[in-house]
Amino acid sequence: MAGGRSMWEWGLDPMCLSHVKLLSFDLLSLQKPNTRGGSEPFWRKGRPVRKVEMVGVVVSRERKDKFLKFELDDGSGCVPCILWLNHMTNRYYPKTDQLQMESMAAMALKQAEQVQLGRLVRVQGRITLYNKQLQITVSSAVVEKDPNAEILHWMECIRLAVRCYDMSAPLPPSHNLSDAGRKRS
C-alpha cells in the first residue's frame, strides 16, 4: 500500500506504465518510495511515476568502462543520468538471447558516443536512487538536432501536467464494472 492506494490500483495507473514527461524541477521534487527494493514507484501528487522522459543540455560527462554518467540541464535543475554499458558482463542482464544482448550493448555504446558536452539530448529511462539521490537510469538517449525540440518539450510538459498528471487517476476496471453492476440492479 502506498499513498493510500493498493498496488492493484496504482499499478494500473497509466502514469505508472508510460514515460512521464517532466521538467527537471518537477522530476527532482518527486516523492521517494517509502520502501526499499524497487517495487514501489516514485510519487507525483499522489500518482505513481516509474519512467520519465526529459530533454536538456549535457553539462557534465564522465565515461567509465562500465557506464557513462552525465547531467542534463533544462534550466530548472540538473538531473544526473547513468547509461550502463556492461550488458555483456553484468549478471543482472538476462542471458537468454545473446544476439539481443549484443545489439543492446552496441546501441548503448553508440548512444554514449553521441552524448557530448553542450549537446541537446532527449533521454528516456527509469528513475532510481543512488546515494539517496534521484537519477535517471537511461534506456534511450537521442541527440536532438532541431533546437526547437526543447521548446516543444517544455510545452508538452506543461500541457501534460495541467491536463493529465495533475488530475486524479482513472479508476481501475473493477471499479467501473462494479459501478455498472450497481446501476443495472
Binding site: F25, V57, G75, L117, D146, P147, N148, A161, V162
Partner: protein
C-alpha cells in the same frame, strides 16, 4: 496563466530547487533573455548561473570573447573554456555559464563565463521568448511563488 510573477521569489526558489534536490554540484543555468539582463534585474547577480541565447555579432580570436545580440540588447561571453565549437558571425548561439561582475567595472562590462555552448541556428526566437514566459508562469505557479 496571466498573473505576474514575483521575480525575486522565483529566482530564490529555482536556485534552491536546482541545488538541494539533486546530488549535482552543478547549478542549472536559469533561462534569461538578453534584454532582461540589466543592472536592476534580479538575474544580474555575480556568480549567477544563466543560459543566454543570441546572434553572434563579434568574436575575438585573441581574447576568445564573443558578443551576442538579441532584442536590441548585447552581452559579452567569455568562451575560453569551450571546445569543439566554431563561431560564425550572424549565427545563433546558446551559452550556459556563470555571470562575472567585477567590482569597479561598469555594469555593461559584465561577462558570462561560459562552460557550455552550442549553435542553435534554426531556433525560433519569437517562439522561444513566448514559451519561456509560459514556462516561468508554470514553474512559479507549481512552486507556489506566484503573486497576484
Amino acid at each position: 496563466m496571466g498573473a505576474c510573477i514575483d521575480w525575486n521569489a522565483y529566482i530564490i526558489v529555482m536556485a534552491s530547487a536546482s541545488s538541494s534536490s539533486s546530488a549535482s554540484a552543478i547549478k542549472a543555468g536559469v533561462l534569461v533573455m538578453l534584454d532582461e539582463l540589466h543592472p536592476s534585474s534580479p538575474f544580474f547577480t555575480n556568480g549567477a548561473s544563466l543560459r543566454l541565447t543570441g546572434r553572434l555579432q563579434e568574436f575575438s580570436v585573441e581574447t576568445a570573447i564573443a558578443v551576442i545580440v538579441d532584442g536590441g540588447a548585447t552581452f559579452r561571453i567569455d568562451t575560453q573554456n569551450l571546445r569543439d565549437i566554431h563561431f560564425r558571425i550572424d549565427s545563433l548561439y546558446q551559452f550556459i555559464g556563470e555571470l562575472l561582475i567585477q567590482p569597479g567595472l561598469q555594469p555593461h562590462q559584465a561577462i558570462l563565463q561560459a562552460r557550455v555552448g552550442r549553435n542553435v541556428d534554426g531556433m525560433d526566437m519569437h517562439l522561444y521568448r513566448k514559451s519561456l514566459q509560459l514556462r516561468r508562469q508554470f514553474e512559479a505557479k507549481y512552486m507556489g511563488t506566484q503573486s497576484t
